[in-house]
């Protein structure tokens, strides 16, 4: 979010999903698309079959990487050097779009300065990607009529996640691959409504519609609308809240539909923090390791019991309609309204449509939307007025922030790399049959059968050195914790790397991960930490 917002002025997918099929070259970075976003994966595979070129950047040989024309198998955490190296090749070869750079961007000299040291030799030695592949990928991306970048958490879940995103934005601007059909820089959201939560202001430094908390005019608008003075400083991110609980500066917390004990890094630290809360209220549809720590848990409503809107990765706002009334009696919005009333702020029990109207009235980019209109059609924001058709493609003639801002960035190595005590690098992510911490999918017998316990992918050579066989019971240890797993031997992970999914509360992989965060977005470095493995 923060990276793209800085470079372009908006933190969302620049182009719609359908556009991917209009692309001539698809550059997929840090996304196991066919597993995590199968409907996007479908479009990528279809475009590849109909003649599009596919470049995959991933340390793992994912299904998509197997199908790719070019697979850049970089060392984990070397994204900035890789893309700096590619940009240097592009610039040296004259494949960049000088007119686009001059007309639509600023700060180009900073980029040139940043990429200068990343000769193909230097790039190869840091990233491990052979030079000839670097040249092929650079040429394919820069010279195609329309090239699109698709990225996911493999880019953002690093201590330099914002830099990783900005370097992708630099690449797109350098080649003029943005603002046209089939181009753009496209983050895939982890869940159906992450975009909607961010749009709604579920970020500590923004009001709805990415209106800055530290902008006095914005604050004044919301103070008037809500009839309450507004805080002048941004709030805390979720990890900062955990630390504040730990320190004692935060006393109480409400957690709605989240399971941070399993999903946040360094799980034992999270548990300790939540344990210090004077009052912890959880609202969820099933018991979770987090609700176990709550002083009070209220039964929430599932998607099928909810009425409102979801906003997907392409900024498309769509209606979600209630299929059955909330089994436990209250919708989530009603719980919040009632809580608010009891806490002394009279929030009327408005309908979801009325709440949406209030949000749209206060959010310029949504002003043209309403449930009535969304009942007929889905709309991509910005949609500033009732007759506006929505904006599937951003940055068409000019960037949202005016001129695109080149970053020009240096390499930040991962916080914790393998060493003698913890010789393997742990990479975390998703498996195809479970969703996040599995609080829902692990209750479905069919899905649970597919993946009943934690399985760690490891390279056969690493396994051999440890005397492990397929299915061997193992223990993964890091400096922060330890979990039991079974070994799956596969050369889809590079030697020296272990991959494990995060779904299992009884074997929470985040007991191992490091709470190192990006300084701007505060996104944790889930993708890299050092572990060792012992045979059980």
């Amino acid at each position: 979010m923060a990276g793209l917002a800085t470079s372009f002025g908006s933190g969302a997918m620049t182009n719609p999903f359908d556009d991917l099929e209009a692309s001539d070259c698809l550059l997929v970075v840090g996304s196991n698309t066919t597993v995590a976003h199968p409907m996007v994966g479908m479009r990528l595979m279809r475009r590849k079959r109909t003649g599009g070129r596919l470049i995959v950047v991933d340390p793992r040989r994912t299904t998509l990487a197997e199908l790719a024309d070019i697979h850049l198998r970089l060392r984990p955490g070397t994204d900035v050097p890789l893309f700096n190296g590619l940009m240097r090749i592009i610039h040296e070869s004259g494949w960049h779009k000088q007119d686009f750079i001059e007309a639509r961007t600023e700060n180009f000299p900073a980029l040139l300065e940043a990429i200068a040291p990343w000769t193909p030799e230097a790039t190869e030695s840091v990233t491990g990607v052979p030079r000839d592949l670097l040249f092929r990928a650079a040429e394919a991306y820069a010279t195609a009529a329309a090239s699109s970048i698709i990225y996911c958490l493999g880019i953002t879940q690093h201590r330099c996640g914002v830099n990783n995103v900005r370097v992708l934005a630099d690449l797109a601007m350098l080649c003029g691959q943005i603002g046209r059909p089939g181009t753009g820089v496209n983050p895939l959201r982890g869940q159906n409504n992450v975009q909607g939560s961010c749009d709604m202001g579920g970020l500590p430094d923004y009001y709805p519609g990415y209106q800055k908390v530290d902008d006095p005019e914005v604050r004044a608008t919301f103070a008037r609308a809500w009839n309450r003075p507004q805080p002048t400083t941004p709030g805390l991110t979720s990890l900062e809240m955990m630390e504040a609980l730990h320190r004692g500066s935060l006393k109480a917390m409400i957690i709605l539909g989240e399971n941070p004990v399993v999903s946040d890094p360094d799980a034992s630290h999270v548990k300790a923090a939540l344990g210090k809360a004077e009052f912890l209220l959880c609202i969820d549809i099933f018991p979770t390791p987090t609700t176990e720590l709550a002083h009070l848990t209220l039964p929430g409503a599932s998607f099928a019991e909810s009425d409102g809107t979801f906003t997907n990765s392409e900024r498309r706002v769509q209606r979600v309609r209630q299929a059955l009334p909330p089994l436990a009696g209250r919708s989530n919005s009603r719980i919040i309204q009632d809580l608010s009333c009891r806490m002394g702020y009279a929030m009327p029990p408005d309908s979801p449509a009325a709440v949406f109207d209030e949000m749209c009235a206060l959010t310029p980019s949504l002003r043209g939307m309403s449930h009535t209109r969304l009942d007929r059609e889905s709309l991509c924001w910005p949609c500033p007025d009732k007759d506006h058709p929505g904006t599937p493609m951003l940055h068409k003639d000019h960037f949202v922030r005016g001129k695109g801002l080149f970053a020009g960035l240096a390499h930040t190595p991962p916080a914790e790399l393998p060493d003698a005590d913890y010789p393997l690098l742990l990479n975390t992510g998703m498996g195809h049959s479970h969703y996040l911490t599995g609080t829902m999918t692990r209750r479905c017998p069919m899905l649970e059968r597919e993946m009943p316990h934690l399985v760690a992918d490891m390279h056969p050579d690493d396994a051999k050195a440890l005397g492990l066989r397929e299915g061997s019971r193992i223990r993964l240890n890091s400096r922060r914790g330890s979990v039991a797993a079974r070994a799956h031997l596969t050369d889809t992970v590079p030697q020296g790397t272990v991959f494990a999914p995060l779904h299992f509360a009884e074997a929470p992989i985040n007991a191992l991960t490091i709470a190192e965060r990006d300084p701007v977005s505060k996104t944790p470095e889930f993708k890299i930490c050092a572990v060792n493995i012992e045979k059980v």
């Binding site: 409907m39 079959r49 195809h432 017998p445 059968r449």
Partner: protein, 637 residues
């Protein structure tokens, strides 16, 4: 019995409203584009015959989405279980297309043959089928190639053919007549010749509108020839195992059992649709999956175009094209057939496929419902193998049981069910024994039980070893690890009539002597004259005289009259092959080597599909196969 009528399509809402008085009416409710889904008809809602196809097939109506197989109540000491079947509600299924009508005729053959599925049969009996011929092919339709459309030939009660302002109606059955009678004012009798002439024309028009279709007349043989075609490996990485193809297939029937606990002392077992495209479908409790991912993609196509037709004599693919429409990877059964047919022309040598005879129909009201049985005693055979002696709580059941089968389905209430072979039989006054190795969820739950606790039994199922045909011959029995369990019954029976047979050799094999089951039995058997008991172990032992090495090493020194001998091998498929190879070299005939392929059986009665290998259900046609038969199966066991 065919009677012909005409109907004004504008009268359909009124007609369906009339029918609705006597039965539930499911009709095609139009959705986006020309898609439609089956929905309960409410009076006077609009009815259109202008829809492409139903997005979901009728099979879901007949299967039930979550079909309760049985309910149980009780605790460790007293359980009772009763079948969950309810009578089907009378239903008029209005508007299914000819492809789905053809699918129904296969479903009838599948569900009602051999062990008749009561849940299906009750719903099916309550169903009246009103089919609608297609006048326009859909984007992915290819029923003209599978010869299951665009017009239906049989399998319906009423058949409608839309023709502008007229709708022709053909009535084929008494049930159809009943619907005509209920809506008499709407139907006008017409001469059969008029209807047939018009149908012929409309069908020709529709056929002409199809895009070029593959010639599927030789698809079966071509696919058998193309079993190892590189295409399967090319398709595999694109398949993301989303299982969409099997979810929309009108002939997909596979299911999984789910155990639902309703309270600490009650629960139920339900079946839910399963998919052979999910990796967990054939993965066993130990984590091994005998079917590769490429094998799974191939299995679906082969099943539809080869295995189903070989076994049931009906089309397994009815050309509805739904799987093509939903596949995110554009896996297209039409293209697969075209390419393989082109690449694998008839070379005169179609691989033979042996089709074993299907059993006659059996109707068992308790088909999926286990009978309670009490654990009498538990003995540790090896560090990880236990022997359970059990007895039916209803003693009467043991008397009526003919132990012709080879395995039981054993339930731990609230946990699940597992197939266990019967190592010992009816000689013990109604007591059965099972040998269980703790590997998965159910076997772990069994390990936690104590004498006196109750389990559930279904069976016995499957074909056993034809040991009576061994009369007068030398018999070799090889059991590797827990593999000795399925053949223990046979050994006991052979020894009871010792004089009927020639020499008997038993080879027990394991990694170490601790891993051998029935140690005491083996010692006792060794003392019987003419019985040769050998051990093949990977690690030396002081307990018995054992060969350290492979089973194969021991064969030559047995000195059998190999050309006329019989052998039973219970071991891993790999070991079976290695031993068989040597036995053939010694002079044995492959039809005289027997083996038990107990591979991921779930329902035991040929319905759930997990143990289907080629056109065979391991649970019905096996688990005992000769080596000759085993070699003809695809290597997916």
């Amino acid at each position: 019995m065919t009677a012909c009528y005409a109907l004004n399509p504008a009268d359909l809402p009124a007609l369906l409203t009339v029918w609705r008085k006597n039965a539930a009416v499911l009709y095609p409710c139009k959705e986006e584009g020309d898609a439609a889904r089956l929905a309960d008809y409410e009076p006077l809602m609009p009815v259109s015959l202008d829809y492409g196809n139903l997005s979901m097939p009728a099979v879901d109506i007949l299967n039930g989405y979550q079909d309760v197989l049985f309910h149980w109540n009780g605790n460790e000491r007293t359980y009772e279980a009763r079948p969950g079947t309810e009578d089907g509600r009378p239903t008029v299924l209005f508007g299914i297309r000819p492809c789905d009508v053809a699918a129904l005729s296969y479903l009838d053959e599948f569900y009602l043959g051999e062990y008749a599925d009561l849940n299906y049969s009750r719903r099916r009996e309550a169903l009246t089928v009103v089919a609608v011929n297609c006048t326009q092919p859909g984007r992915t339709c290819f029923c003209a190639a599978t010869q299951t459309g665009p017009f239906a030939r049989s399998g319906y009660d009423l058949l409608l053919t839309p023709d502008g302002d007229t709708c022709w109606v053909e009535c084929a059955t008494a049930r159809g007549e009943a619907l005509i009678a209920q809506g008499a004012p709407f139907f006008r009798s017409v001469p059969t010749a008029d209807l047939k002439a018009r149908q012929l024309m409309l069908e020709e028009q529709c056929r002409a509108a199809f895009p070029p279709l593959p010639d599927m007349s030789d698809a079966r043989n071509a696919l058998l020839r193309g079993f190892h075609h590189p295409l399967w490996d090319e398709l595999t990485p694109t398949c993301i195992a989303c299982t969409g193809c099997t979810a929309v297939c009108p002939t997909c029937t596979c299911f999984q059992f789910n155990e639902e606990r309703l309270s600490p002392t009650s629960g139920r077992r339900v079946r839910v649709k399963d998919s052979c495209q999910a990796p967990g479908f054939t993965r066993n409790a130990g984590g091994h999956n005998p079917r590769s991912k490429a094998g799974a993609v191939r299995h679906r196509i082969m099943d539809k175009l080869v295995y189903i037709e070989d076994r049931f004599g009906k089309k397994g693919c009815v050309g509805c094209g739904r799987c093509i429409g939903v596949c995110p990877a554009d896996i297209d059964i039409r293209e697969i057939v075209s390419r393989i047919t082109a690449d694998c022309p008839d070379d005169g040598g179609t691989p033979p496929v042996f089709i074993s005879e299907r059993m006659p129909r059996r109707a068992d009201p308790q088909l999926y419902t286990p009978q309670p049985a009490r654990i009498v005693s538990i003995n540790d055979e090896t560090p990880d193998i236990r022997r359970y002696v059990v007895r039916y709580t209803d003693e009467h059941l043991a008397e009526t049981f003919r132990l012709s089968g080879q395995f039981f389905m054993v339930t731990v209430f609230g946990v699940g069910e597992v197939a266990l072979s019967i190592p010992f039989g009816d000689q013990h006054g109604g007591e059965f024994e099972f040998c269980v190795k703790k590997v998965g969820k159910v076997t772990s739950a069994l390990a936690a039980l104590k004498p006196g606790d109750i389990i559930g039994l279904r069976g016995p199922y499957g074909k056993g070893f034809p040991y009576r045909s061994f009369t007068g011959r030398d018999v070799l029995i090889v059991g590797s690890g827990v593999g000795l369990a399925p053949v223990r019954t046979i050994i006991v029976r052979l020894l009871q009539e010792r004089e009927r047979y020639g020499r008997i050799a038993i080879i027990a094999s394991a990694t170490s002597y601790e891993g051998i089951v029935y140690k005491d039995d083996l010692r006792r058997w060794a003392a019987v004259p003419g019985v040769d008991v050998r051990y093949a172990l990977a690690r030396p032992t002081d307990a018995v005289a054992a060969h350290v090495g492979y089973i194969n090493d021991l064969l030559p020194e047995l000195g059998f009259d190999w050309a006329d001998s019989r052998a039973i091998l219970c071991a891993s498929p790999r070991r079976i092959k290695l031993v068989s190879r040597d036995l053939l070299q010694l002079g044995m005939h492959p039809a005289h080597i027997y083996t038990s392929l107990e591979t991921h059986m779930r329902c035991g009665v040929g319905k759930c599909g997990h143990c289907k290998v080629g056109s065979h259900y391991m649970c019905l046609d096996g688990p005992v196969f000769t080596y000759e038969e085993m070699l003809q199966l695809p290597e997916e066991f």
